[in-house]
């Protein structure tokens, strides 16, 4: 059925059989790609470290691009809200423990510093490096990791 649908219409005038075979093969390959279960089940892509790094790099600097600054801070805020919610709902060990002082404004800088110091993780998702950066900067005391 698939091949029948993909067969070129009879009135198409191909100069020879070889290019027609190539054309049919190309269509089959393309259709398989489009109909692939991998594509059908595609989920939201994880944000790349490079993208978050670029938006966070100058987020705290005066005159920084407004979009970048808001994206950086709010992505981090969303991820941190999720961490609180999920670790509490599922009783998961916290990946980091924020100190008493208000450090939210420093987290963009902590993330960019971590990425610069760990270029080997540049191809990992941003969320991975963000949590590792927070884990390194704000480790949980040994008495309360599972709270």
């Amino acid at each position: 059925m698939l091949f029948k649908m993909l067969s070129p219409a009879p009135n198409l005038n191909f100069p020879s059989e070889a290019p027609m075979k190539k054309f049919t093969l190309l269509l089959v390959v393309l259709s398989l790609f489009v109909a692939s279960p991998v594509m059908a089940q595609k989920q939201v892509e994880l944000e790349t470290t490079k993208y978050l790094y670029d938006t966070c790099k100058n987020a705290g600097v005066k005159g920084a691009n407004a979009y970048n600054a808001i994206f950086c801070r709010t992505f981090i805020n969303g991820a941190m809200n999720a961490h609180v919610h999920l670790s509490s709902t599922y009783q998961l060990p916290r990946q980091y423990c924020l100190p008493m002082a208000d450090v939210e404004s420093k987290i963009a800088g902590i993330f960019t510093k971590y990425v610069e110091e760990h270029p080997q993780y540049l191809n990992k998702p941003a969320i991975f490096n963000l949590y590792y950066a927070l884990h390194g900067a704000f480790p949980c005391p040994e008495t309360e990791p599972s709270k």
Binding site: Q41, K42, Q43, V44, E45, L46, E47, A66, Y67, I70, F71, C72, R73, T74, F75, I76, N77, G78, A79, M80, N81, A82, H83, V84, H85, L86, Y90, L92, C97, L98, P99, M100, E104, P125, A126, I127, F128, Y131, E144, K147
Partner: protein, 128 residues
Amino acid sequence: MKKLTLLLVVLSLLVASPVMAQKQVEPVTTQYLYNSCMDVAYKDDTLTTSTYCRAFIQGAVNADKHLTSYYNFPKRYCLPAANVEKEIAGIFIKVAEENPIFFKKPAISTLYYALQNAFPCTESQLSK
């Protein structure tokens, strides 16, 4: 003098409180995220409020995906395709409007509730 001592004791207890010592990020309220997401759904997609809405959703969804996989607990929702942030903003707004009691609750719990209802996982998705 007694009053001053009492005040100092109360303040020191507050500062030394375990609740304070374990301070976490202040939760964004549903009302706050709702306001910023209204611009994504109905106004200008390029407004700073729209950026806030989409970035918060992305951060929350990325974190959920990462932690679900890291701790291997069951997925609660399965998003259908890439670039659905705008659709998610609309779904979040609808759930908040239908459940006004949520407005004072954390945005993150309303968001996950909305995603769970809008994008339940099929059995085949859960088994993967």
